[in-house]
């Protein structure tokens, strides 16, 4: 009885388990698995990342004015869908030039809004990708 009274008093002055979220930001680990980032200059367009990706979040689709990279013979452009990506890192492992062409950062994707056209824009790309095959 007495100990429970002391405990109850002590609990009044204890810090809460939760954090005051919008004011105090959530501590983010620097090793956090985040967005896949791409360096176009170093890419050799081997398409290994596209084949390795389990959900198919990386697509190389032909465009009208491709980059001036000399390895890009088919005139492809890199497309990445952060909302489909599961951040497993298989693409980075498959990449012959990791750290230069493709690497994993610890950034989070922005919240998608309607004007981003996440769904139908991506379905359009998937259709183009199928036609190219």
């Amino acid at each position: 009885m007495f100990t429970s009274f002391i405990k109850a008093l002590a609990n009044l002055f204890k810090k809460p388990q939760t954090i005051d979220y919008p004011v105090t930001p959530i501590a983010k680990d620097k090793e956090y698995r985040g967005l896949i980032e791409y360096g176009e200059e170093s890419c050799i367009y081997c398409l290994k990342c596209e084949h390795a990706c389990p959900p198919g979040a990386i697509l190389f689709v032909p465009v009208e004015n491709p980059s001036t990279n000399e390895k890009n013979k088919k005139g492809l452009a890199y497309n990445y869908n952060p909302y489909l990506c599961i951040y497993c890192g298989e693409c980075v492992r498959a990449c012959p030039k990791p750290e230069e062409a493709l690497w994993q950062s610890n950034k989070k994707p922005d919240v998608a809004v309607k004007s981003d056209n996440v769904n139908s824009g991506w379905f359009e790309l998937e259709k183009q990708h199928k036609e190219q095959l």
């Binding site: 388990q17 680990d29 090793e31 956090y32 959900p55 599961i86 497993c88 890192g89 298989e90």
Partner: protein, 361 residues
Amino acid sequence: MKKTINIPLGSQHISLLEPVRFKFECENEKIIGVDADVGFVHRGVEKACTTSFKFDAIGYVVARVCGLCAITHSLTYTAAVEKLLGAQITSKAKYLRILLLELDRIHSHMLCLSHTCENAGFEAMFMRIMGDREHIMEIQELITGNRVQFDYISIGGVNRDLAPESVQKIKENLYIVKQKVQGYMDEFTNNWSLSLKFKGIGMLSLDDAYMYNAIGPLARASGLRIDVRNEIDYLPYHEVGYKMQTHTDGDINARNLVRLAELVNSIEMCENILNGLPEGDIFTKIKGKPQGEALMRFEAPRGELMYYIKGNGSAMLERVRIKTPTFSCIPAFSHIFLGGDYADAPAVLASFDPCMSCTAK
């Protein structure tokens, strides 16, 4: 005139968060008939694995079967594929796999214990255990880079190495949780809301456990010595200090005590692994396509998880059969309910620790 009444438990019920429905046929307060309906969230993962994904991506697909035992699912599948490809993985990768598997078990058991408390009306204990579970989630985030979907196991090893600076933090967190678990042991044996209330409720005798093929903590609480960790030599469990935990009572209290003892044992195993982690690579590149059939079992937090895969030498598999622990325990669950009071049903169900997203994969 009909003498019995039918009362459903679920699929939406305040004390049951899972999409499952038990139809109880009751005579006054006693349950005399049980019918279970588990197929509310069937997603066809087995079919997707053989039609839409190549074999090297399936490890990530099956991890989505269940959020709580994601590591066990992807590990069991990966181990089965490695068996077909004849691959050898390094010993460091094996130890890291055990570490993650045991962390999976710790946080899943803590979740189950907290729900048991909640169903006993002990909300404060529920909050405390869930708060302490955060330490384990932090460790998992530190190791794998994500809080829930870990994607840590890959064919040939594991995805990330253990950073030396995070080992200290992991040990500190494990030490805190170990102290807390000792405290729970005291609560679960001495506090009347959690011990006396649960004694003799939801009994499963040893003979019935054999008869109904019970697995996991449910069977071990009845004294049935079944634990896949004891029956496989694929991972070096006996080197890291694994001990089987059993109890003889077979009631809810015994299940809680078995889970607590397993928590202590798992934390010890994690500490042993961190202290004696061998040097070496974490990943070996493996080539080839799976051919033939393989069956692999692992001990998930809720019991035995089995994968049967069959490949024909191409990138697509012919069959992926997933047998999840809750699925094969459903006949035992239905048997335990018979003869019990209807008012006990939510507490009994929480003590089974059912995972419906596994069952209706």
